[in-house]
Symmetry: C2
Subunit: 207 residues, 2 copies
Amino acid sequence: MSARPGTVRPGGRTARVRTAVLRAAGDILAEHGFAHLDLADVARRAGVGKTTVYRRWGSVTGLVTDLLAELAHDAAPHRETGSLPGDLRAYALLVQREAADARQGALLRAVVAAAPCDGRTAAALRRFFEVRVEEWVPCVEQGVARGELPAGTDAAAVVRAVSAPLHQELLTTGVAPAPHAAECAARAAYAAAVAGAYAGAAPVTGR
Amino acid sequence: MSARPGTVRPGGRTARVRTAVLRAAGDILAEHGFAHLDLADVARRAGVGKTTVYRRWGSVTGLVTDLLAELAHDAAPHRETGSLPGDLRAYALLVQREAADARQGALLRAVVAAAPCDGRTAAALRRFFEVRVEEWVPCVEQGVARGELPAGTDAAAVVRAVSAPLHQELLTTGVAPAPHAAECAARAAYAAAVAGAYAGAAPVTGR
């Protein structure tokens, strides 16, 4: 909670420690999975004092939460391709690449695994998806404005529909979806939205 | 692996022990979550000897795997409503009810959580979804035969699309989807299938 300059200066020692620790934690997650993530081990790999790691992250779930924050921050900002099918395809391929990435896919599975047992991780996961959906909602809203989709379309539902089959596949099979699954997910979400499946029938307050 | 009669006779002592143990395990999962599931505690609640539970299930993941097998077995068989939108809606509402059920929703989250760390649980989870998809594929195939959907539609992809937004919501927010989300999921999968989103563009070998 302190606002010491070292905690925010990007090139400072604190930032370098964070980078080294998150890299080590991501390596261990990708190589051995969540069950083998241990703070002392992470500190050793990162070449950082154990006390520093315990003081700063506190627990494995604290570390995983910070990894997720880094993933959200690093993800390429969305590109607007000028057409809604193009935008939805770009989003589907972003989700697919994350799921297929050894470090990011393992991180997502670890976070989903830890969430039921840990309120902090659950909140970080919810926030990660909320931010993601908020980033892509304007593409759908522009599609509505251009007349590609019916008025009253629930833009967030369309964005969530794009990632849903890809996340379901990763989480239930443990195998990352292939790029053609992403193409299919984007095509399906667009077709359903054009047909009005996300307009009108949901409660007015929506979610 | 033994085929002693007691292991298969439905009303026998072995079956009664299993029922009591699975009920106790389901109660603990629903009340306290996966982190608090402990074989000795389950045995005590079920009124069964600890040794019996350790010998038969071996570990918490063994117990969870057996709970999942019971869930697959108990789920109401699919009803054919005579129209594909009706069938997809029935499936979506089955998935939604499971997610919203205190015991079944907690079980699904626990299994998804344990799968990355445990090969046996991962295999049970994959099998659970495969069986589920196989059960509902004929509804979609009949829809193709009736001319409701384009020829070449990937029936399994349509079934998976129905559950995807519901599972994504449960697993990323920890909150069970509402019935209107199930209605929307079924409507969207149907509209996308009618538009041909699941036909043709996927590789011929499928997956």
